[in-house]
Symmetry: C2
Subunit: 354 residues, 2 copies
């Protein structure tokens, strides 16, 4: 089997359909038919061929098949490595993708949208046109990412996951961020809270803006007082949530509740509260967004919004696969429902709160 005993790594498929065909006294086309699952082959011939294939240790050559079919059987997953790769959000999403592709013939290729060559479209130009990938799942692109346009122009089968881009025909699967914030606001409102602070996320994160807007909208609708100091920006990390909270809680009167645009920042808010000697939730209610696994394990456990991330992943992969197999471009914005998770970090406003 080995081409060269010193280089065993060179082992490579040599037995071809031709060989199997010769061994059976048929043409390679017939062998091809058998492996393509064509019904147009006599049962006895088929068996003879399968038997010979096994005996000769034949293995189907997908590299050749894919070359011929002008496809790679790879699905590209593109995202910002720096921002998302190690996050449980990405992990859950990917597990959703994988669930769907598990029994398919496609595998995953991973691309970093942060790299220059990707974001400027140089890499993209080749990626789909040459079928290095047969389609693309773009995870949570930033507002400043330029490549979505390029992809659309090139008619790349593509699903944007996690955000809903403003572009017309772009197909996306996301969750209802605005609704999530509204649910949190209503929850706090029903507990008697009338002064609510908000730690927003970075502007270049598409969903972050939606969350902020929804908060502002709620305040308007309920005519809640919301001075500018009640709204402070963070960058989706614990430390920045803590810093933002320091400003928010330094106001007078201070809010009786704070919503953070993601769980990590909510953790920061709680830490800040503790350092100021405020108890959560007795003196301050705190809520987050994302439903991180650790949020349910911390003390106090965190009230938050659960996104159906796994299902979003599965749905995206399913849409893409369908689009690839049936040769049509996917379209439409799919918005999934979010769920309010009420836990210990929020409580009815009490008399002791000023």
């Amino acid at each position: 089997m080995l081409v060269n005993p010193e280089m065993p790594s060179l082992e490579y498929q040599q037995v071809t359909m031709e060989d199997v065909a010769r061994a059976c006294g048929v043409t390679k086309k017939t062998v091809s038919r058998v492996f393509a699952g064509s019904p147009l082959v006599k049962a006895s011939t088929r068996e003879k061929i399968l038997e010979a294939a096994k005996r000769l240790n034949y293995e189907f050559n997908t590299l050749a098949q894919n070359f011929n079919a002008k496809r790679s059987r790879f699905i590209g997953v593109a995202t910002s490595f720096v921002q998302l790769l190690g996050s449980s959000y990405f992990g859950e999403l990917f597990k959703g993708f994988a669930k769907e592709l598990n029994d398919s013939q496609w595998d995953f290729a991973l691309f970093d949208t942060d790299t220059e060559s990707f974001n400027n479209g140089e890499k993209l130009a080749k990626l789909y046109r040459q079928r290095r990938v047969d389609g693309l799942l773009v995870v949570a692109p930033h507002t400043y990412d330029r490549f979505l346009e390029t992809l659309e122009q090139r008619h790349v089968p593509m699903i944007v996951v996690g955000v809903r881009p403003t572009g017309q025909g772009i197909c996306s699967v996301s969750c209802d961020d605005a609704r999530g914030i509204t649910l949190l606001c209503e929850h706090l409102y029903s507990l008697g809270h009338r002064r609510i602070g908000f730690v927003s996320g970075p502007q270049y994160v598409t969903t972050s803006e939606l969350r902020t807007q929804a908060f502002l909208e709620f305040c308007r609708a309920k005519k809640l007082k919301c001075p500018p100091e009640y709204i402070q920006p963070g960058f989706y990390a614990i430390r920045t949530g803590k810093e933002a909270a320091a400003k928010i809680l330094n106001t007078n009167p201070r809010p009786t509740a704070v919503i953070a645009a993601n769980d990590l920042m909510a953790f920061g808010v709680i830490e800040c509260a503790h350092e100021l000697g405020l108890r959560v939730p007795e003196d301050l209610s705190v809520a987050g967004f994302d439903d991180l696994p650790t949020g349910a394990e911390r003390s106090p456990t965190l009230t938050t919004i659960h996104q159906p991330v796994n299902e979003m992943g599965q749905k995206s992969a399913s849409l893409l696969l369908d689009s690839i197999q049936n040769q049509h471009l996917p379209s439409g914005g799919n918005v999934m429902d979010v769920v309010l998770q009420v836990r210990e970090s929020t409580a009815r406003v009490s008399r002791s709160q000023p």
Copy 2:
């Protein structure tokens, strides 16, 4: 350009080297030489060809090239999705991989070792033999994973990352887990701690055993009292650390310090301590292992062991790439140094501690 206006997704490369050649009055072989970067082409011819290629919108067909060369230009990354995909460990490792491959011609394919077809070797049989991937980075395989043997038998260019398998020739890049635990022990010992508890990780995690053994070894060497109740198993999650700590801290005399085999469990230990009314580090020193980003943001900040994860990733990818390009199998165990990160969660043992 479009094959069918209703199916724009079918857009595909049609301009070939043949076309470019014809436009220039040369053979496709000459065109081929130009794109292969061969110096054996007259400068004027080269320019003529490049100009024509651009004008005709020619794009090099890698699918054809790879078929011909019997390779895919994909590196496979295999790991347990359930256990690692959403972890910052995996994220950092992957960023290390990517740093190395960024300017290469290889991209990443991702495989889940949890799937039946992968772990039993069925998928693997095709993966390398047909060059669906040209090599494999296997991240933190479990002790019960069977596929490593298969890979070795098939002479797949492969690097095992994060653990050092017992098999002979298998090439690995890992960090010195035992040394890390020893550093923690020495640190605590030097602070006066003589009763140290330990929360171990699951047995099927290869490195987990190394960490436990190193702890036991230290106790033996220093003749520290270490009753069985001081050592409790956890499963690398906050909650399990908390549960284990509950047992450890219920002993009499209780330890003055606890080491957890990873940071998450250390967080759980701290939580348990707080619930028991113990202050960290005044009443109990706590240390972890991994140096999670959040460990430096929590209060108290966590003393832990830093693994050079990013560098491990880069090193692995570099070794693999070299092995692929130079047609030799990699070998040897590469062990990287760990660094002790002393933070707030550990302190000198005090008189108030019994």
